[in-house]
Amino acid sequence: MRPLTLTRLLLRCSILALILFAVVVVAMKLGAVQVSLYGLGKDLISLLLHRTSSLSSDYGMIVLGIRLPRILLAIFVGASLSVAGVSFQALLRNPLADPYVLGVSSGAALGSIVALIVEGRLDLSPEMAGLITPVGAFLGATITIAAVYILGRRDGQIDSTTLLLGGIITASFLQAVIMFLMTTLSGNNLRGSAFWFMGDLSTPQPRSLQYLLAFGFVIAAGAIYTTASDLNLLLAGEKEAMHLGVDVPRVRIVVYIAASILTGLAVSVSGTIGYVGLLVPHVMRLIFGSDHRMLIPASALGGAIALVIADTLARTVTSPTDLPVGAMTALAGAPLFIYLLRRRIA
C-alpha cells in the first residue's frame, strides 16, 4: 500500500516539467533555419537567469519571435485538450471520451465561426474582436456537450456506445454545418477549412488573447483539479460515488463547464486538433495509474509535451511546407482509439 503523497506528486511533476523544457529547447532548434543546440541552450539559460535581455545572435528573432510563441501555444492547447479529455473520460465513465471524439471540438469550432461572422457585422475594437471568438467557442462547446450527454442517455443511465455514436454523429453534422458556412460566406475572414478540421498552431495570437488563454486555463484546470478525488470515485458510477460522499451534481456541473472552457479556448486559437485528449491521458494512466490527483497534472504536462513534439514534426517533416498538426495527432491517435475499442469489446 503506497498512497500518493504531495512529495511524490511534486517529484513526478517536476520530472515531466524537465522533459517539457528539454522538448521545448529541441523544438526551438529545429526548423527551416538551423540553430546550434549548444548555443541556443546557453543563451536560453542566461536569458532565464536575467544575465542578458535578448538572445545575442541574429537567429534570436526567429527563435523568440516565431518559434517560441508557437511552442507556447502548443503547450497551452495540448495541456487544455488533455485535461478536458481526462475530465470527460471520468465524468462520462468512458475511456474513449475526448473533446474531438465527442464532437465538443467541432461544436467549439462552429461557435468560433459564428462568433467570427457576428464580429464581422459588428463594429468592434480589435481588442474586443479578438476576445469574442473564445467566448463563441466556449458556448459552442457547452451546448454540444449538453446535447451529446442527452443523446447518450438511455433509461436515465449513460450508455457508452450510444454516447460515442451520438458524439461522432454530432461531430460530422457540425462539420457539415461548418463546411456550409465556409462555402457560402467565403468572403468573410474565416480562415481555411484545414484550420478548422485539422488544427493549426501557426497563427500568431494578440497579447490580450494570450492573457485570456493563460488565465482561462489556470481557472478551469484548477477548478477541475479541486474535484480530483471526487472524479476517482465517479469512475465507479454516480450512485456509488454519492454513497461515498461525493456531491455528484456539483462535481458534474463544475467539470462540464470547466472542460468546455478548456476545449473552447483551445479550439478558438488552434482549430480542432484530434486525439490529444484521448492519447495523452491513456499514456499517463499506464505510467502513473488512474488516480486523478496525479493524472490531471500529469496529463496537462504530458499533453503539452505531446503537442510540442507533434507540432515540431508537423513543421519540419515536410519543411518548408507545414502539415496541419491535427494530421500528426490523428496518425498516432486513431490507431490507439481502435486498439482501445477492440480491447473493450474483447
Partner: protein
C-alpha cells in the same frame, strides 16, 4: 415550538431512545414513470427499528421493494411518506458527506472503468472524511489495512481488482464499507481515580461532560457566575468549587480489539452556549401574567426553532477546542 421544526433539535431525545439506532417510521414509496400514470411499483407504509449490534435481514420476493427500502434507508431516495432516522437524524436530509460517514452500502456489483489495486479501492471509503484534494493520512492507511484484515483479505491489498476472483472482490468491497464507517476502536471511560466511581457508573459520560465545560475565563466569583452555576453531578465537582472550570479528564482505552498498534484520537469540546444560560435568557423577559414573551425573546425563540445544527460543528452545542492523536504500540 416543535411543530415548526423539520428536523429534531440536538438533544431531542423524544425521537429516538438511545437504544435505537435506526428507526423507520411509516415509510412508503411509489415509483411511476410520470406523475399522471398509475405507479408501476409501490412500497406499502412500513415501520421497524434496529439497535446497535443487531443484524437485520430484509426478506421478500423479487420486485417487492427490498432494494428500494435500502435506497430509502441510505437516503438516496426520499420517502413518499413517513420518516427514517439514523441516530435521531433524518437520513435523507443529511448533507451528502455526513451521510457517507454514517452509512456504507455494499452494492450488488461495483463496476470498474480503469484497473485499480485492492487497497486503492478500500481507500475510497475514506473519501467522506476529507476535502476535494486531500492526501491519505497514516490513520487512513491503518484503517484501510484493518478493514482488509477484518474481512480476511489482508494479502489481497496489492492485487489488481480485475485480477482477483469474484468472492475475493466481494470481500474487498465489504472492506471498503467497513473503512467508510470506521471509528477508531476507542471507547472512552473516565478513570475511576479522577471522579467518584459510583457517580461514573450511574451517569453516562456525555451527560457528565455536558455540564462540566464552561466558557473560557469562567470563575466561580466572576460575572454571570450565578447563571452559569454548574448543575447536577458537576455541581459537587471540586474543580468547580475551587478551580477555574477547567478539568482534567483521563481516558482509559481498552486495547483488546487493536491488532498490534493503534492510533488514539482524543477530542475536547467546548460548550458554546450552555442550555441553562439560554434558558435564563428566554425566561428573563417572559411575563407570566400575560404569557407573552418580549419581542426580542420571541425573535430569538423563532430563530432557535428554525436552527438546524444537526451534523454541524456545533452539533450538541459543542465546539472542538483541542484534539490530539497518539500512537500506541505493545
Amino acid at each position: 415550538m416543535s411543530s415548526a421544526l423539520r428536523h429534531p433539535l440536538p438533544g431531542d431525545a423524544s425521537r429516538a431512545t438511545p437504544e435505537v439506532r435506526l428507526s423507520v417510521e411509516q415509510v412508503s414509496y411509489a415509483y411511476a414513470p410520470n406523475p399522471s400514470q398509475a405507479p408501476l411499483f409501490t412500497l406499502e407504509a412500513m415501520s421497524f427499528q434496529a439497535r446497535p449490534g443487531e443484524l437485520v435481514a430484509i426478506l421478500g420476493p423479487n420486485a417487492s421493494g427490498k432494494s428500494t427500502l435500502l435506497k430509502l434507508i441510505s437516503g438516496s431516495l426520499a420517502p413518499l411518506s413517513g420518516r427514517i432516522f439514523l441516530n435521531g437524524f433524518e437520513t435523507h436530509s443529511l448533507p451528502v458527506k455526513t451521510r457517507a460517514q454514517r452509512i456504507a452500502l455494499v452494492q450488488q456489483e461495483s463496476r470498474l472503468l480503469f484497473p485499480s489495486r485492492a487497497w486503492e479501492f478500500v481507500m475510497q471509503g475514506r473519501h467522506p472524511y476529507g476535502g476535494g484534494l486531500r492526501f491519505e493520512s497514516e490513520e487512513d492507511i491503518l484503517i484501510a489495512n484493518n478493514a482488509l484484515a477484518q474481512v480476511g483479505a489482508a494479502e489481497l491489498a496489492d492485487r489488481w481488482m480485475d485480477k482477483i476472483s469474484g468472492g475475493e472482490k466481494q470481500r474487498v468491497i465489504l472492506a471498503r464499507a467497513l473503512a467508510q464507517e470506521y471509528r477508531l476502536p476507542f471507547q472512552a471511560h473516565i478513570d475511576e481515580n479522577s471522579l467518584d466511581s459510583k457517580l461514573v457508573s450511574k451517569i453516562p459520560i456525555n451527560y457528565a461532560k455536558k455540564n462540566r465545560l464552561l466558557p473560557r475565563g469562567w470563575k466561580p466569583t466572576g460575572p454571570h457566575a450565578a447563571e452559569t452555576k454548574p448543575h447536577g453531578a458537576a455541581a459537587s465537582d471540586p474543580d468547580y468549587l475551587n478551580g477555574c472550570g477547567c478539568d482534567t479528564i483521563i481516558y482509559r482505552i481498552p486495547l483488546g480489539k487493536v491488532p498490534n498498534a493503534a492510533k488514539v484520537r482524543a477530542q475536547l469540546f467546548y460548550q458554546t452556549i450552555p442550555p441553562y444560560y439560554l434558558h435564563q435568557r428566554f425566561t428573563d423577559t417572559y411575563d407570566p401574567s400575560t404569557h407573552n414573551a418580549a419581542e426580542n425573546t420571541q425573535r430569538l425563540m423563532d430563530f432557535v426553532a428554525r436552527l438546524n445544527v444537526g451534523a454541524t460543528e456545533i452539533h450538541e452545542w459543542k465546539l472542538l477546542v483541542a484534539g490530539t492523536t497518539h500512537s500506541i504500540t505493545d
